[in-house]
Amino acid sequence: MTCSLKDLPEKVQARVIDLQGELFTTQHLMDMGIRNNTVIKVIRKLFFGSNYIIEIGNEHLVLRKHVAQCLKVTTLF
């Protein structure tokens, strides 16, 4: 399944296939180590889904829903 990270269900592993959005956001995402082929998982959605805690490797990051929308992912089975 290919979707934006925003629509990825919790605890499902996925691979990043594209970074979209404004330069500021994509640069920030890349600075944080998120690039194409990064394996990613949504751990928890907070406060009515306004924030996402995600896992990359062994590390956890937190981002807002509209930043999650910039990440196109495909699920891993």
Partner: protein, 672 residues
């Protein structure tokens, strides 16, 4: 700043730069606001084996790379550019978190590629070692720079780092000739050529000149290209390379024990419901602790100053000099210094929250609700800093990327209970709960803190309705591992901030106590009784002139004069009130001034008609006034500087103070 050589600490946020800075300098730092900076840069002298070198260590705000488009990135780039331009860049210590090396190593590639002299300090190596130690010599070879492991908790590896820095940077030219070649091969030039704006090509011209005996002046290189944004492809390539290197140098497979522990704790602390319960409990304990932990220390300081003043007056109250020292200097300083333990505990708590890794969780939790009212989760940093002082808090709001969220944050910051208000609240609550157990004022104090936060949130909500929406708001943050705070660093940082607070307030307090003492003692009328003498003094006459304004909140001229003096600095209210009361209230039996603690003198103070000067209603009115007012003109100045708008600063100043006066009058009318 002096032209001594700079050793610049650079690294991602939360990588341990400040801890390393404290270990190296012994916290002998000066803090400056770098022109156009987002947050503070710290400067300190490098101390190696008890000797102080001529190198100046510079601590910079955290950035993930020099391409970072954030304002913190600008500060780091500016200090680098300036050091290179002034030819005093000795070297760069890149501080990377060993537990996050795969992601952060890209920064090392970037600095290396630019030909900048760099060594790598691997912080939190003590944690990484438990999980999966690195083959450090292979890592150093792979990166082509010296690598030094640092144990932040105990300061291990700091001397080795300094030794490596002195060997590596000692005879190194400030910007080597090879840098130009590397610059040309790095792809930046190519990237610059592709740029549409002709501005960049114009800037390339000075590159032909500026060759010195030791290399190229970096000032002659176009800075926008030097630190320009990397292409997606390049960054991806480096991330891959970093992963490969870390896999190669890892001696054993990581067990991720510490990560698992952090995630287990997070399952509670970041729980959608329990997370907020824990947050409330932690903040409540923190703010009420400010009151009850400090209580014995405050009592000791208060009694010591009262005892000292009493002894001095016994030397001869009629001698002007003794009277001035006892009722002016000692009373004024005593009334202020008594609150220093609370200020220290406030800073200590803030640093402990930050150092343990919990603050990031708090920010994560509040971002959701905050974003609904026009704020960012990152507004919590300025909010909590504003509980210490609104000025650095206003500066730290620059880390909020959205202009709209930043402006709203700056606007509501004066609602937060800053440390200058702490002495005032402690005095007023001390009066309200005179001879009660300490937990009662402690509870009210934490409610005041909570209320100030709620007021800020309410004001943000109102502003959010009227301001246009902004699409640039974003929030992206990493959650650090929980770790034991470095107590050495936490204590030094807290003490340094407390000292700064005392130093800042000290001269103002001395000047004001001097002015108050002189204006309450002159002109002299030797034939009059002391209370009549005060009535006819300069302060008495001025106070009576402004008294009608303060009558509506239950005060007399003495309260009025003290309130007006608080516009210079809020904390001045306490010593000015102390000096005024000590010089206007006299014991009936002896006719001498009270030498009791200030709260006791307040209990005994009377209005001209014999009623008590302070009642529950008037104290609560004063509390409301201090909670809502914006008396600190430095905050207004910094708000103007940060927003670039006089209208913003003027509106903030006027609206807060009108609201404060109206709120205080209303409270007094309702409660009396």
């Amino acid at each position: 700043m002096s032209k001594s050589d700079y050793l610049i600490l650079i690294g991602p946020p939360n990588s341990g730069k400040t801890t390393l800075f404290n270990w190296i300098t012994g916290y002998k730092k000066q803090t400056v606001n770098y022109p156009g900076s987002t947050v503070d840069l710290s400067f300190g002298l490098v101390r190696q084996k008890k000797a102080i070198s001529s190198w100046t260590l510079v601590d910079t705000p955290g950035v993930y790379s020099l391409s970072s488009p954030s304002s913190e990135g600008e500060v780091t780039k500016n200090i680098l550019k300036e050091a290179i331009k002034n030819k005093n860049l000795r070297g760069i210590v890149l501080v990377l978190d060993a537990t996050r090396l795969k992601r952060q190593m890209v920064f090392a590639f970037q600095l290396k590629e630019l030909g900048l002299p760099v060594i790598l300090a691997l912080s939190m190596y003590d944690i990484q070692k438990q999980e999966s130690p690195f083959d450090l010599s292979t890592l150093s070879k792979q990166l082509g720079i010296p690598v030094c492991p640092i144990e932040g908790l105990l300061g291990g590896g700091v001397f080795q780092l300094l030794d490596a820095a002195s060997i590596h940077f000692k005879d190194r030219p400030m910007f080597p000739a090879s840098a130009r070649t590397r610059f040309e091969n790095s792809g930046f030039k190519e990237l610059a050529a592709k740029r549409k704006k002709p501005k960049s090509t114009k800037k390339l011209a000075p590159m032909k000149t500026g060759i010195t005996s030791y290399g190229h002046k970096i000032s002659s290189l176009p800075s926008d290209i030097l630190f320009s944004t990397w292409s997606k492809k390049k960054q991806e390539e480096y991330l891959k390379k970093a992963k490969k290197i870390v896999d190669k140098v890892s001696i054993q497979k990581a067990t991720d024990k510490i990560g698992k522990r952090t995630r287990k704790v997070d399952s509670w602390l970041l729980h959608p419901v329990f997370g907020f319960v824990f947050l409330s409990l932690i903040l409540f304990t923190f703010f009420s602790g400010i009151f009850w932990i400090a209580q014995p220390f405050m009592h000791f300081i208060d009694s010591s100053f009262s005892w000292g003043a009493d002894k001095i007056l016994n030397l001869g109250e009629n001698r002007f000099i003794w009277n001035f020292i006892a009722n002016g200097v000692l009373t004024g300083f005593g009334a202020f210094l008594v609150f220093v333990p609370q200020v220290f505990i406030l800073f200590l708590g803030l640093y402990l929250l930050e150092d343990s890794g919990y603050l990031s969780r708090a920010v994560t939790l509040v971002d959701g609700p905050f974003s609904r009212i026009g704020l960012s989760g990152k507004s919590l940093f300025p909010f909590l800093s504003a509980f210490a002082c609104a000025i650095p808090a206003t500066l730290s709001a620059r880390s909020i990327s959205s202009k709209r969220e930043r402006w709203i944050t700056i606007f509501v910051l004066p609602f937060m209970t800053c440390s200058a208000r702490l002495p005032v609240y402690a005095l007023l609550l001390g009066f309200l709960f005179y001879e009660s157990s300490a937990w009662k004022p402690g509870l009210i104090m934490s409610l005041i803190y909570l209320l100030s936060l709620l007021l800020g949130i309410l004001a943000s909500g109102i502003l959010n309705i009227f301001l246009k929406s902004d699409k640039s708001s974003s929030f992206l943050m990493e959650l650090p591992l929980y770790r034991r705070p470095v107590l050495f660093s936490v204590f030094l940082s807290s003490w340094s901030r407390t000292k700064h607070f005392i130093r800042k307030a000290g001269p103002v307090i001395f000047t004001f106590t001097l002015i108050m003492w002189i204006t309450t003692h002159f002109p002299r009328y030797p034939d009059l009784r002391p209370e009549e003498q005060i009535q006819k003094s300069y302060a008495g006459q001025f106070g009576q002139m402004i008294e009608p304004v303060f009558k509506h909140i239950g005060g007399d001229w003495r309260v009025g004069v003290s309130l007006l003096s608080a516009f210079v600095a809020r904390e001045v209210f306490v010593p000015v009130l102390a000096v005024t009361l000590k010089n206007t209230e006299f014991e009936e039996s002896t006719g001498k001034a009270f030498q009791s603690p200030l709260t006791e003198t307040m209990q005994k103070a009377r209005l001209a008609d014999g009623r008590p000067l302070f009642s529950t209603a008037s104290i609560l009115a004063l509390l409301v006034f201090f909670m809502l007012s914006l008396q600190c003109l430095s905050t207004t100045g910094i708000a103007y500087k940060e927003t670039g708008s006089w209208r913003f600063a003027a509106f903030q100043l006027i609206s807060f103070n009108v609201l404060a006066y109206m709120g205080a009058v209303l409270s007094y009318i309702l409660l009396s």
